[in-house]
């Protein structure tokens, strides 16, 4: 039954991809193929990064309403980015090779994420309210620090930063695509090998240790993976608050299982299906460029409120 659902999702995604590539195609095919192809690739990559990061985060923190972005992960990435522009200056920043910059940002991001989040991550199970609070505080802190830095830097530097701070599925940063694919694939490979262990981790710290899983070490690994995935997606399309939540909730709802071997591919497929078909509809049919992110965030946000009110914490 699970396999059947996965196949249906894959077929739908394939159709969405074909629609995205072919609808309203005018002019030279070789140009279109490259142009739309890179965009499609970026959408798929972002889908994978966000869905996997959210699923992992929920598994390790033992709840189903918190996501990396609600906890301030992408705000942290933006802060790191701003800090780099601030310390290096806009000129040096722009002159730097995009990929080196990206790697440096991810490096700082990992360090900061481990320092800040490793203490609170595992506690979610016992104390969800504290986690929510920590997330809100971190998020606000990172955002206001970013805002503060952006206000005191040079206006030119500010313009450089601005491009990064809105979710834009329509204009992805193509330079980082290759490196992003590399990083996300590496993360996915590690995660796929951990898929059974993740099932055990979802039972909670005590049960996991009892069953012989080195819980502390693995939650560190997962934290690093989540931070990397969030960095990639934020670098490509900017922060997205509720998309991950929407995707994992749908995956749980459709698959109704605890097994990561199913939840992982399911949430990847669902995320990609929403992004690709949504982008096709908005860009090709409705001709409005940037409304997809707004729509996705709107429904994700509604879902978040719904889950909160219904007390579906777990």
């Amino acid at each position: 039954m699970h396999a059947k659902k996965l196949i249906i999702l894959s077929v739908l995604l394939a159709l969405a991809c074909i629609a995205f590539m072919t609808l309203g195609a005018k002019g030279s095919w070789s140009f279109l193929l490259v142009f739309r192809g890179t965009k499609l690739l970026a959408l798929l990559l972002v889908s994978v990064a966000i869905s996997v990061a959210t699923l992992l985060f929920q598994t390790i923190s033992g709840n189903r309403i918190l996501t990396p972005s609600i906890m301030g992960f992408d705000a942290l990435y933006l802060l790191v980015q701003t800090l780099l522009v601030f310390t290096l200056g806009g000129f040096t920043y722009v002159a730097l090779d995009g990929q080196i910059k990206f790697l440096a940002e991810i490096g700082v991001m990992l360090l900061a994420a481990v320092l800040l989040f490793s203490t609170v991550m595992g506690k979610g199970r016992q104390d969800l309210h504290r986690m929510v609070l920590v997330g809100i505080i971190f998020g606000v802190l990172f955002r206001s620090l970013t805002g503060f830095l952006q206000r005191i830097i040079d206006p030119n530097d500010f313009a450089i930063l601005q491009g990064a701070s809105f979710a834009q599925f329509s204009s992805v940063d193509k330079d980082l695509l290759g490196l992003g694919i590399l990083l996300v694939s590496a993360c996915c490979l590690i995660i796929w090998r951990l898929r059974y262990t993740l099932d055990v981790i979802a039972l909670g710290r005590s049960n996991a240790i009892n069953l012989g899983v080195s819980y502390e070490r693995l939650s560190f690994v997962v934290l690093v993976l989540v931070a990397t995935l969030v960095s990639v997606s934020t670098a490509l399309v900017g922060p997205v608050a509720f998309f991950g939540l929407l995707v994992t909730s749908l995956a749980h709802f459709i698959m109704n299982t605890h097994r990561h071997a199913i939840l992982l591919p399911a949430s990847m497929l669902i995320a990609a299906l929403i992004l690709v078909s949504g982008q096709t509809v908005f860009e090709r049919i409705l001709k409005s460029q940037s409304t997809l992110s707004v729509t996705v965030e709107f429904f994700g946000g509604l879902l978040f409120l719904l889950l909160l009110f219904r007390g579906k914490m777990r």
Binding site: N63, L203, S206, G212, H252, H258
Partner: protein, 252 residues
């Protein structure tokens, strides 16, 4: 053999366990009793490495719990905790199946499937094995958790109040089964019990904790004794005899 040596434990400034030293024999049932807050669950969780040891050492057959890899220990000892909040959505069969994880690491063999079916039969769960854990009663979930710990097939099994939520029928049949298995000499059980009569009837030895210290450690006849029980629980308890079994009348 389980050897506990000079174990003390603090939460902040409050002393929860103070210099506990004892050894538990290779096979049989050891009951751990004591008032609420005596430190029974804390001791059990330290034995099962769920918390790091602050002072002292705990060894299972000469393997220290703080030094032996978790993965190895999972084949030697299993614990059933007092409170179990499970957030995953899974069937009772899946839950029980997790007990086999230390052996198959996610790829169950025929042997693992057989062990799960046996445990389901053993604890009378077969007809509800497809139900989700959040859709069964407290006692049914408790039986599934016991079955899961059982499935792990470890030499040592630490059970923290396994009779929680069980009705008289299942409480007695669980204790009888533990007794049967203990009598084969292959596995040993450390069981936290509040009903002193169960401890008296089924355990080889009783360990009593009070205020974080070892109060009594001995055979049931040492513990099921009016004075001993009255000091331990600070209440009036009469002990009588029914056939050849000592019975504490703690409910009157």
């Amino acid at each position: 053999m389980i050897e506990i040596n000079g174990v003390s434990h603090n939460y902040g400034k409050s002393k929860i366990l103070q210099n506990i030293s004892l050894s538990i024999k290779e096979s049989g049932i050891t009951a751990l009793i004591g008032p609420n807050g005596a430190g029974k669950s804390t001791l059990l969780s330290l034995m099962a490495r769920l918390q790091p040891l602050q002072t002292g050492s705990i060894m299972f057959d000469g393997h220290s719990v703080s030094q032996t890899p978790t993965r190895e220990l999972a084949k030697t000892l299993a614990i059933l905790r007092q409170d179990n909040a499970l957030s995953s959505r899974m069937s009772l069969r899946d839950l029980v199946g997790f007990g086999r994880y230390p052996h198959h690491k996610g790829r169950p063999t025929a042997k693992d499937h057989r062990a799960v079916e046996e445990a389901l039969d053993y604890f009378d769960l077969q007809d509800m094995s497809g139900r989700f854990i959040d859709e069964v009663s407290g006692g049914q979930k408790q039986r599934a958790l016991v079955a899961m710990a059982f499935c792990q097939e470890t030499k040592y099994l630490l059970l923290d109040e396994p009779l929680n939520n069980l009705d008289m029928y299942y409480a007695r049949s669980l204790m009888k089964r533990l007794r049967e298995i203990a009598d084969t000499g292959k596995r040993s059980f450390v069981i936290v019990l509040h009903d002193i009569n169960y401890a008296g009837a089924y355990a080889n030895e009783i360990i009593a904790l009070k205020d974080g210290t070892l109060a009594i450690h001995g055979p049931p006849q040492d513990v099921l004794e009016t004075n001993a029980l009255q000091t331990l629980y600070s209440m009036k308890i009469t002990v009588t005899q029914h056939q050849d079994q000592l019975v504490a009348l703690h409910h009157l």
